[in-house]
Symmetry: C2
């Protein structure tokens, strides 16, 4: 009765961007845990049970799912994008480390997915075409000064920076502060991409210059990509401009 | 006669990890450009033409594909993993920026995919569960000192580091030097993942400690993930150990 726990990445939102591996895992599972907007994307059969959660924290959700799996059930936790990028896979590992022995015996299988920064980058050109990093801008689980130090270190070293969770109802000032921090080390004309809901019906993509970047143009569904000093904008007349980071480091970088 | 150019991510290697969007784009294309091992993964119809290339450089391949598309053809360039991560999307943008006006009129559509670090991370737990970066370890297009500076900056700031292209026949010493560089700022017991050919039949996954990490255990198909000081290994008896990076920054970090 070891049970099975899938941790599944649903991709950025379009059914066309979910892998067959993820669909197979969904078909094999009977109980589904996850943040409500992700669980509601599933087309479940009558014999499958959704346990959507709004307010419960990720660790509690991971523990609930492990408890259920340990009874011999096949359980799925679903995340948007990739479950290993600021999502449920780390919470599950943390729960297993801290939890009862039976949870270590659960057959754990993590199914990767297309994470938001890749989907946004693909819509805009190739902003992640050179060395890049991903930073969770939420300061719920880490102090703000750590975030700011990382942003400045990454920008100074020439990394493109993808920001996840840039803003929320309770975190309004962080993105503006992030722009201020990297402005100290990046040129004012550095491209900043606001990639909202890539692949979904309400997708909205745009690029601004760092000196003019408006934090209020981001929302919870936005992945913000701050270019490096080498990132370029290529105008194409009536087609959307391309934003890309060259593969070569030139002498001025 | 503007033509269409898809730049398609095939995912890490398993047919189960390629998106429906990528399959649709393949079905719609008539000419296929790419590095031979990727083109050979395609199951083409009799009316579809593969233009695999071994030795030609990426920029030349991008220009050939744009030339073909500009005649009014629907052309695909295929990459393993995601085309925007150290792959063909940036080369195509670069070719468009430098090239003839007709190339800007080509309808360009980039199809994201599951990139190697996500597939490797999923097999091992959640090593990318906190802030992380991706570094191309090839010094073909950038000086080695830039790479070393970036590695030390990223490790010092607490980023997990995913290394792409860690080693090749002509680049034998770089991975060992990378381990040496980060050893100056990371604890000796930092976990280092060697993730080879994730999702393929010849997959091989392992974890070593930084102080013992053997660069010769990597090959061209390996994605190496160097943990941060906070990355942990969770033993699970007869099941493979989990490697994860906690979501929280604790006071010692």
């Amino acid at each position: 009765m070891n049970g099975k726990l899938y941790v599944i990445g649903l991709g950025p939102g379009s059914d066309k961007q979910i892998t067959p591996q993820a669909l197979d895992a969904i078909a094999a599972s009977t109980h589904f845990y996850g943040y409500k907007p992700y669980v509601s994307r599933l087309k479940l059969r009558a014999d499958q049970v959704a346990v959507a959660s709004d307010n419960r924290e990720e660790l509690a959700r991971a523990k609930d799912a492990l408890d259920r799996a340990a009874t011999g059930t096949t359980v799925a936790i679903v995340s948007g994008g990739d479950p290993g990028v600021f999502a449920m896979a780390a919470a599950v590992c943390e729960a297993i480390e801290e939890g009862v022995d039976q949870w270590r015996d659960v057959d754990l299988e993590i199914i990767p997915g297309v994470t938001a920064m890749l989907a946004v980058a693909a819509r805009m050109g190739a902003p992640l075409g050179h060395d890049f990093c991903a930073v969770n801008l939420s300061d719920n689980l880490k102090p703000w000064d750590v975030i700011e130090t990382r942003l400045v270190a990454a920008a100074s070293a020439g990394f493109v920076i993808a920001l996840y969770n840039p803003i929320s109802k309770s975190r309004q000032w962080q993105l503006g502060r992030a722009f201020d921090a990297v402005s100290a080390v990046l040129p004012p004309e550095t491209p900043v991409i606001f990639g909202r809901a890539a692949g979904r019906n309400d997708e909205a993509m745009g690029v601004q210059l760092l000196c003019d970047a408006k934090a209020e143009d981001a929302d919870m569904a936005t992945c913000v990509i701050i270019g490096s000093a080498a990132t370029r904008i290529v105008e194409r007349g009536d087609k959307p401009a391309l934003v890309y980071s060259p593969r070569s480091v030139r002498s001025h970088s």
